[in-house]
Symmetry: none
Subunit: 216 residues, 2 copies
DNA sequence: TTTTTACTACTGGTTTACCAGTATTTTCCG
DNA sequence: CGGAAAATACTGGTAAACCAGTAGTAAAAA
């Protein structure tokens, strides 16, 4: 892990060109920081990371192609010493804490000031967990309904959940996924169990509450 | 209204310093454009506008202090010739159309490319209504659920819908409401019909989308 | 390497939901 | 009061969901 007086190689993974430019402009002032590149797609960055050393990644967790969460995990798996700072406008406590579990070293909302941004970068490079001011406030003020933990679903389960929310029946899903209806039933059963609900109606409501299905 | 070969005075009203920097950087390349200033609060900009001529405003409609909608209206009231381009990440059709009603000349999502941004600026300055690519698609492809009007439910049906969303089964509801299970079934059937869905999963999703059940 | 997790698949049930009608009673508005 | 809308109830059937197990295989984690 780089110390703050070392030279820092930084990458930006972010969907919005404007934000990329803004970050670059702000960080260009810092002589210790080299911007290795900016990426609008997670897969592109992963490819880059396979061939280059990156000390710190500013990662928008709301990317279109892959979930930023998954990407964060992939980054830490491939290059554990790379510090990941999550960048988003999401201000929900559960999401912030979740990204930390995926290996991020901090969470910044996009309205950080430049001084705040640089401070957080330095803290993160020192190995600390760091947040922008607004996020700190969110963290310290937990909401009641956020106590019940969000069940972790497998990829297949997420897929089934999505299909169920679209009104698909078990045989329809079986055909669509080329598996036995009995398999689908098993997934459904596990979903009900994981969410601790006893029918589809409750399942949908729980999934919506946990924002595991978009609704649109 | 300035033509594109005139000199254009531009202002940015935007909460996120990073985005401000990004916009400045992208627009700095254009010699015809002078950036009069950037403002993180609507009230600051209104004060500025009282004493300076501004041709075009890039306005984040998600500002913290005042609603961006209201600010847009105020700008057009004070200086009708100032072109307002809304800037946001909101991708809901209704919101986009609303801001146009408040006098904006276009709507850009923040993931516009720089060329797209400049194109939109030019179009707007020519007096046209302009959108970034993603927004165009949203406008021309209205979601299905925005067409079919919200079904009107009877008091009893709303009650049943609520109970269903709590995971109650038909016999449970029958007991709770002291009616025959067959009655409950009829209500359920009518709910499915009114929402034009074919099972509970879809019903829940539709009800959530129409905000007919809270979710919390 | 061992263990765990995820995905797959099955048996044999029970329960609940869904469909298409019809029909009676209650409620509420003009 | 009369009529419409809503709520109630029923028949009779089909489809889907839900339950409780068991279990093989492949891939990932310890």
């Amino acid at each position: 892990m780089s110390l703050m007086n070392d030279h820092v190689v930084l990458a930006i993974v972010e969907d919005h060109p404007i934000v990329i430019e803004g970050l670059k402009t702000l960080l260009k002032e810092e002589p210790q920081i080299t911007i290795a590149g900016s990426f609008t797609r997670g897969s592109d960055f992963m490819e880059f990371l396979r061939h280059h050393k990156v000390d710190l990644v500013l990662l928008d967790i709301m990317l279109p192609d892959t979930s930023g969460m998954d990407l964060c995990r992939d980054i830490k798996k491939l290059s554990p010493d790379t510090v990941v700072l999550a960048l988003s406008n999401h201000t929900e406590r559960s999401i912030i804490l979740q990204i930390l579990q995926y290996g991020a070293s901090g969470y910044l909302v996009k309205n950080v000031s430049s001084t705040e941004l640089l401070n957080c970068l330095k803290e993160a490079l020192r190995g600390e967990i760091t947040f922008s001011q607004e996020v700190k406030e969110i963290i310290t003020r937990p909401a009641q309904h956020e106590f019940k933990q969000v069940p972790t679903l497998t990829k297949r389960e997420k897929q089934i959940l999505q299909l169920v929310s679209q009104g698909k029946t078990t045989p329809m899903m079986a055909q669509e996924l080329n598996v036995s209806p009995l398999t689908i039933e098993t997934h459904r059963r596990n979903l009900l169990q994981k969410f601790d609900v006893k029918n589809v109606a409750e399942l949908m409501m729980a999934a919506v509450q946990h924002k595991m299905i978009t609704g649109y």
